[in-house]
Symmetry: C2
Amino acid sequence: MILYLKIINQRKNRYLSSIQYHIKTFKNYHIRELHIKQNTFKNNSYAKYTAYITVATSILGLYYYISYKNIYALNEKFIPCGEFRVDLKTYNLEEVAKHDNKENRIWVTFKQGVYDITDFIEKHPGGSSKILMAAGSSIEPFWVIFANHNTQEIYELLESMRIGNISKEDAIFNTINDNDPYSKEPIRHKVLKINGEKPFCAEPPPSLLIESFITPMELFYVRNHLPVPEIDLKTYTLELIIEEVTKKILKFEDIKKYPKYTITSAIMCAGNRRSEMTKEKQLKGLNWGIGAVGNATWTGTRLCDILKDLKIKEDDYNHIQFEGYDLDPSGTPYGASIPISKAMDSRADIILAYEMNEQPIPRDHGFPIRVIVPGVVGARNVKWLAKIIVSKKESQSQWQQNDYKVFSPNTDWDNVDFSKAPAIQEMPVISAICKPEQSEIIKVINGKINVKGYAWSGGGRKIIRVDVTNDQGETWYTANLDAEDNNAKVGRYWSWTLWSIDLPVKKELKEMEIWTKAVDASYNVQPENIKNIWNLRGFLCNAYHKIKVKLEH
Amino acid sequence: MILYLKIINQRKNRYLSSIQYHIKTFKNYHIRELHIKQNTFKNNSYAKYTAYITVATSILGLYYYISYKNIYALNEKFIPCGEFRVDLKTYNLEEVAKHDNKENRIWVTFKQGVYDITDFIEKHPGGSSKILMAAGSSIEPFWVIFANHNTQEIYELLESMRIGNISKEDAIFNTINDNDPYSKEPIRHKVLKINGEKPFCAEPPPSLLIESFITPMELFYVRNHLPVPEIDLKTYTLELIIEEVTKKILKFEDIKKYPKYTITSAIMCAGNRRSEMTKEKQLKGLNWGIGAVGNATWTGTRLCDILKDLKIKEDDYNHIQFEGYDLDPSGTPYGASIPISKAMDSRADIILAYEMNEQPIPRDHGFPIRVIVPGVVGARNVKWLAKIIVSKKESQSQWQQNDYKVFSPNTDWDNVDFSKAPAIQEMPVISAICKPEQSEIIKVINGKINVKGYAWSGGGRKIIRVDVTNDQGETWYTANLDAEDNNAKVGRYWSWTLWSIDLPVKKELKEMEIWTKAVDASYNVQPENIKNIWNLRGFLCNAYHKIKVKLEH
């Protein structure tokens, strides 16, 4: 019983991953078993479970103590969700189906669980329209596609909305054929650190990242939002639409007939460095390190040339929307848009790329055509391009409207209004230390250690200086800019800059913190602390990059 | 004698403004008298001065105590420079004239003083070429024009290089006719706070600044670098030059024949908010508050239209240089340049403005033509436009090469290399609190105080959010954006944004600090602290604006 209290104490503010689970784990290491929420103990089954627990903890005693850490770790990964709960009422599918609108409340099922998600609809990071597609029925087929929902965090959230059960038979009936849409994904390089399996999201290790100015395709970070579509070059088409009318359909060869342009451009995910921001205050979202960025050459047709052929007048419209061939379960494609003034500006160097580093674009990076909008957040660089839509309206996709936006540190999921912030387009100035890595042990040579990293700014703004300190800003050392795009024109520096410095280290020092900050051509500089730029989606973590290292003299 | 020691102690690290001076002040309040540097006491005249001092301090005793503060204040303003010093050798003008090159050392005279400035040449903020014009002769005529040199700080600096005297006769002979070139300056509004008389530099009070979205001409900050030229519209010409060849000469009426454009744009001095930065670590330069910014409508001819008529190919050149009609004593005009890609881009909205707020541009703001380069530092918005030069080269003016640039906090006058930083063009994001002002006593009404200010970013980047905190960032409140340019196109928001907020105040609070930070369309945000962006010229002080106020409940 003492142990039980100890566990409760250690894990307060979280659901208690039930003691019953530990009993079963002890017996047969089966994992996906019935879990009980902490407050379950307060209801009428209290006596029954207390009995269970008392017996169980007495038996387990010593064993539990020894294996606690292992069990705890397993437990972190597998919070079962949708298991039958004896304390709740059981409904049939017809009853559930009636709850598909706000008046009647909105219910969904997951396995044997019934959930009232009415009050969560507006807070859904993926947008209310997406989640409403499951109203009155099962949410499971959607989570097969949006497989990033299959996390402890989201299981916990769903269970907090639990109101009942459906029978085992109904649950089986309810499960549609969910042939894995991710079964035909490309093979990826094993060195990539996977942040999300389905959709696939991964980044290279920092030390490899800065080994070359041009990132090899295999090491380029991948941020997919849906399964990778299978596209046959022979049948591929790109549809050009003005408002809702198709004006032209281009085949791959039609696109290649336009003059060929090559640019060197970095692409960065808005979530890059989120893992640092979540330490400040917990966030939902992929736990990106500093590797959600890469720098490549992109070859293709200029978007402005295509638009010129459509005889578009810039003043008549406001946005150019892009849609991909990657589809969600409802058939809705990934989508994004950029302002028309940018799209039609030849100086913006936007291209429909069919080559990456002089090779056909790999499937993970948008085969056969990816829009490259240099200086702009990765999310607008739409892969597997299917449609270009000239419109008065911004893309209405969830990723444009309800996702890639940034709010003040005091905005949370209870008060956020996504319509109040503009979609991220151009990115702010950022830098990161790639060598050494966090917590690394470094040999001091001749009183110095070598520090390396990257810096970048959006909007074509060149990196003009990178400053490094190892005494909290008392002394700033200016780094060498080792590699930059020497062919770039003024205001069109799309590439990253790689920098390094031999940083002087005091003799007696056993460990130290290294900070870096970059300055761009507009003399914008990174903010010092994450705290003041924290935002609920964990985007644009461009505060000073700070790492701690240990020193060997 | 105790008093004497006390004074020494209070003013250590500065030149001792001599005791002899105080004696004379007591007698007749004449101010510009002989001063003695502290180390003078260490040389062979030591005995003589010690006698003086002992007698003087005995007599002055009580009187001095009472009037100390007044004397001190007067003394702050008038550090004489160039007075005859009995402890130094006297040279004649021929001897001085020989010292006009580095081999022989470079000497200049000021009044009766002779100075060896050889080691200072490279550190001269105004560039080495300018100061070298005085080599071997008097620096006085230059300081009549660059009258901002007439400060205690620069007198002290010059005196630290003192090596000798010239005779009174030579000093008179040496003084050329210095009819004040500032005698024909326009009349300015008395509400302006003057930061420099000659050249004239002044800013409006913060509370007035944000009273209207469009700044009235009379309240618009003035930052002149030289005397205001007198220009007759009938004889005014604008010379268009490609490299060194004059291609066209336009009269005022020729410029007006082009299509007429109006933009609304803020202009900001790079030195805005320097007074905060100098508190972090002392700086040279005008002590600007937060008012070195204004927002006006500008009407005129587009620069790109003029350049199109010259049939310039963008790829053949790199820069567009501007020269003003304002001249230094050597006849060299004020000059600056911008990249040609910006100059030829119609989206950059650069105009040769002949109207400001629908009136002819006033003399202080560049009558009859000022180049408006929106989103770019004030220094490139050249007034009294005389020449446009298409060139492969950047402007070689001191203001482009050796002045408006920013370095790391560890760069000082001993190690600065101006060639290592790019000239400031586009400005970073900034904001300021204008109401209340620093140290103001504010009445709390219904638990709140009203806070108002401006925010702006260069490069046409719209202000998308302003956050305000009164608890060091624990809580951030998002301000209302009250006034912005609703007609601006995407990426072309040249105007400032005025914001306000009713900031909640805790009941018991007697005083508090208010911070503000703005975010622009690239999601660039201001850095927290001035310390980490401190730079030796005191430019681009865009850290959080922080003020302390007292509260009345």
